[in-house]
């Protein structure tokens, strides 16, 4: 059975971006996926602007600390440290919110989506907002460029150097953490190198570090300039040389391509397709845009088996809802709480391996919470669930901002919160002015769901408000979004 154009375009928009936006609806049946992809590439061509969320106050504080550090190796006072941590925490929250808004609103959907992929690939936990901001910008700048450049930029970022302990990697006292992860998780994948390769590579990375401003520094004095043998190649390698050796391995192209295929196409790998994509990726000298073009302009990408086959990640789900239903959210922290409950907080990956994805997103609690979000937005449900604490973020101080009450008695009366969202329903409803009333549910399901089948019209109808056309569209949409099918893209 031929897949209709509209469904193909929705598929493309969900995978190469964060889902169709309400203003794109009229175009979906008009243009071909090739045309839509071309437009996406064009929109993503512009250099992304540098996201800067650091407040003047924090800059002042950082400068003050550096000054104090220069004068005498003085420890921060407890107050200073506390203040700094708090501001870093707040800063990372702002970064999270800012980027999520880009995912929702930016026309450069392709860039934000592939950046989001790299954010999980180069997973990094670092509580310094400066460093996190620097890493995010390195990723967004190079997300569609050359993988080798991206790899080097990320490897030299203060966030990653600190996270993977390369600041402690010195001649005669090697710390192998960075060398291990760069091979296991960033390039080759497990089983494609030896422990000896890691030891030797770690020596090459000695001296790589970052200063307090987050700039890369090479500390020659602690660099081991002896001869090293990495993956069979011997020389007085430095860090860049080792990264080049890793990029020379076809396995790196295979590893990255496979991960990209899983993320953008299907969790189930088609070995032949991945192999030929990887060959081309390698031949094209790791040009990321070409790889994506190979995927999104292929015919097989639009095969039925690839459509609606992926479980949306929490961030994709949250962004996707907001693209279809334009809204202003006045209590942004509620979105952070949802990220925590659903298991994906931007800038806080579980570990350097990133979010495992797929079925791992789903358990009883997360599935039910996902299906409640549309009602929360529509003020017909309350957020009465408490996320787990994250001690790395909170430094033992407890949650200083508890948007969610810990309900013990009855969800009615304790200060449970809604999501304070003001949805521009008119804009959404206008997209359906020409739709016949008795075709509404079918049309809405067709736009909102990527699965072959959805919940029956009868069920949706019996839970929708039929007092007016507007109310009907609004409530039917909320209910269709509250189904297992809507979790898939």
């Amino acid at each position: 059975m031929a897949v209709p154009n509209q469904l193909k375009n929705q598929h493309l928009l969900w995978r190469a971006g964060f889902g169709p936006a309400v203003e794109q609806l009229p175009d979906l049946s008009v243009f071909s996926p090739q045309q839509v992809y071309k437009a996406m590439v064009k929109a993503a061509a512009k250099k992304p602007s540098y996201i800067n969320v650091v407040s003047n106050q924090l800059e002042g504080l950082m400068a003050g600390i550096q000054e104090a550090g220069r004068q005498q190796k003085k420890e921060l006072t407890q107050e200073q440290r506390k203040d700094l941590q708090k501001q870093n925490r707040e800063g990372i929250k702002s970064l999270n919110m800012y980027w999520l808004k880009e995912m929702v609103n930016s026309p450069a959907q392709l860039r934000e989506k592939i950046s989001f992929f790299w954010h999980g690939h180069f997973a990094c936990r670092n509580l310094n907002v400066y460093y996190q901001q620097g890493l995010l910008n390195a990723i967004r700048q190079n997300a569609l460029g050359n993988f080798g450049t991206l790899l080097k930029e990320v490897s030299k970022s203060a966030a990653m150097l600190n996270f993977l302990n390369n600041q402690q990697n010195r001649k005669d006292h090697p710390n192998e953490n960075f060398a291990r992860e760069v091979m296991e998780l960033f390039t080759l994948g497990r089983g494609n190198y030896t422990e000896q390769d890691i030891k030797e590579a770690a020596r090459a990375f000695t001296g790589w570090g970052a200063n307090a401003q987050g700039e890369f520094v090479f500390r020659k004095a602690v660099h081991d300039d002896g001869s090293k043998t990495v993956l069979g190649q011997t020389g007085n390698w430095q860090g860049d040389d080792v990264l080049d050796i890793l990029l020379q391995q076809k396995q790196t192209a295979r590893f990255i391509t496979e991960k990209i295929y899983r993320f953008f196409v299907n969790d189930t790998i088609d070995t032949q397709k991945v192999q030929s994509l990887a060959e081309r990726f390698y031949k094209n000298k790791y040009d990321i845009s070409s790889l994506l073009e190979d995927i999104f302009t292929s015919e097989w990408f639009y095969d039925e088996k690839n459509i609606g086959a992926k479980i949306k990640s929490p961030v994709e789900l949250l962004a996707g809802i907001q693209r279809m239903l334009p809204m202003t959210i006045s209590n942004e922290e509620s979105i952070l709480v949802l990220q925590r409950i659903l298991g994906q907080v931007l800038f806080y990956p579980p570990n350097v391996a990133g979010w495992p994805g797929g079925k791992n997103w789903i358990d009883s609690s997360t599935l039910m919470m996902r299906m409640r979000i549309p009602q929360l937005i529509n003020d017909e449900d309350v957020l009465n669930v408490k996320p787990k604490d994250d001690d790395d973020q909170m430094m033992g101080r407890g949650d200083d901002q508890k948007p969610v009450a810990n309900l013990k008695k009855n969800m009615k009366n304790v200060g449970a919160k809604t999501i304070d969202a003001d949805v521009d329903w008119n804009k959404y409803i206008q997209a359906f002015t020409k739709t016949d009333r008795n075709k509404l549910i079918n049309t809405l399901s067709g736009i909102l769901l990527q699965t072959k089948t959805g919940v029956s019209e009868g069920v949706i109808k019996s839970y929708s408000d039929e007092t007016s056309r507007e109310n009907f569209i609004r409530t039917a949409t909320i209910q269709i979004m509250s189904t297992p099918e809507y979790q898939l893209s």
Partner: protein, 403 residues
């Protein structure tokens, strides 16, 4: 705003549920046959890195007092177990358990190449991975996988929380998080969800495929029927005992009621925290230990009165201990090895079962571990839960003799 809180979990809804459940779930609807004397484990996670040295105190160790001039707990203040060992002053009930032969303490538990990040170290404990290995399933989740091939019983492992811990997520099966059996998920949209599920069952019959949508519906069906099951069980023999009105008190009370029921649960998981005492440690640890002490006291008393103490093994763990030296803020920073409490009416080796930490032999100011936590897990899996510990832990770890 009006919340329509329908009593969706009610007697009778179980029967309704069965009508639309795919066949593979029907088996699950049958009354679970739980033999009397069902052995259960209660995991008490002390989140944030509990300071083990102020929990089990080496009251005759000069180095301890020298390194902790402000934070060290004097012998006269500690709850005395032996001439050498004292407990934190708040842990009086643990002294009673100790005297009673119902407490084992294992010192210096940890793992090679310890990680000092809360999140990472907690993952290592919860997944039972090596410190350079990343697993996306937990040890108790894999216990579920191994115990429950071909069946769907997420209620075999219950976490008292809104969100499920990684420890409880398996490769194929997950435990279930329940904060309050009356409200597995308190939502205004419950009846819609039930109709959606029913509609799917009618339209598609048995979820046959391996498609993600089948997995989602399967999880949804499990959630709804587990909610019914857990709620009914929790009302079968609710405990009549008094528990402190704290979060842990409430959680242990729920667990006791479920233990007294016919539920098929083998593992309960509950957390207390945050023990991340960088600043002003004394007050924070005192407060948390008081909550723990009073709740455990009520729980163990209740179990004894109902003659179930022999069937329950409760243990504590934390992602790491803390540094030997106090810091400049009246607290301690992240450390390594730590002690664990094991509480049961059916212990084999009791009391302080291995040597206290050697404070003269440290690794850059941190304790060296002498027992791998995976030895503790292996012991519990093998001897208590009668499970295939080697498969679950991906390796052979020798057994300890506390049970």
């Amino acid at each position: 705003m009006v919340i329509k809180r329908k009593e969706f979990i009610q007697a009778g809804s179980l029967a309704t549920a069965s009508l639309f459940l795919p066949r593979f779930l029907k088996a699950f609807e049958a009354p679970a046959m739980v033999p009397p004397g069902n052995k259960v484990v209660v995991v008490l996670q002390l989140s944030g890195g509990n300071d083990g040295l102020n929990t089990v105190i080496p009251v005759r160790n000069d180095i301890y007092y020298k390194e902790r001039p402000g934070l060290g707990i004097q012998k006269s203040k500690a709850v005395s177990l032996t001439d050498e060992v004292g407990l934190h002053p708040a842990l009086t009930a643990f002294k009673d358990l100790y005297d009673d032969g119902s407490l084992s303490i294992i010192n210096n538990v940890g793992y090679p190449n310890p990680d000092r990040s809360h999140f990472r170290s907690m993952d290592i404990w919860q997944t039972a991975s090596k410190s350079n290995e990343y697993l996306s399933s937990g040890w108790l989740g894999r216990y579920l996988d191994a115990q429950c091939i071909g069946c769907d019983k997420p209620t075999q492992a219950i976490e008292l929380d809104d969100v499920l811990s990684l420890a409880m997520k398996g490769e194929t099966l997950n435990g279930i998080a329940v904060k309050d059996p009356k409200r597995l998920y308190g939502t205004a949209n419950e009846s819609f969800f039930r109709d959606v599920l029913k509609n799917h069952g009618e339209a598609h019959g048995e979820a046959h495929g391996e498609q993600p949508v089948d997995y989602l519906y399967k999880t949804m069906a499990q959630t709804l029927s587990s909610a019914d099951y857990i709620f009914k069980q929790s009302r079968l023999h609710p405990t009549a005992s008094d528990y402190p009105k704290t979060e842990l008190g409430n959680n242990l009370k729920t667990i006791a009621s479920l233990i007294f029921s016919d539920i098929n649960t083998k593992v309960y998981y509950v957390s207390l925290g945050s023990f991340d005492t960088h600043v002003n440690q004394q007050a924070q640890q005192q407060r948390l230990f008081t909550e723990m002490n009073d709740a455990i006291k009520a729980f163990t008393t209740d179990l004894k009165q109902n003659h179930r103490f022999d069937d329950v093994l409760l243990f504590t763990f934390s992602e790491f201990g803390r540094r030997v030296s106090q810091n400049a803020s009246g607290g301690t920073d992240h450390g390594t090895a730590n002690n664990m409490f094991l509480v049961s009416g059916c212990l084999h080796k009791k009391g302080v079962i291995n040597a206290l930490p050697d404070l003269s032999d440290l690794n850059e100011g941190d304790l060296k571990h002498s027992v791998d936590f995976k030895n503790v897990y292996a012991t519990i899996l093998n001897k208590w839960l009668k499970a295939d510990d080697q498969k679950i832990l991906n390796g052979k770890f020798s057994y300890l003799d506390f049970i």
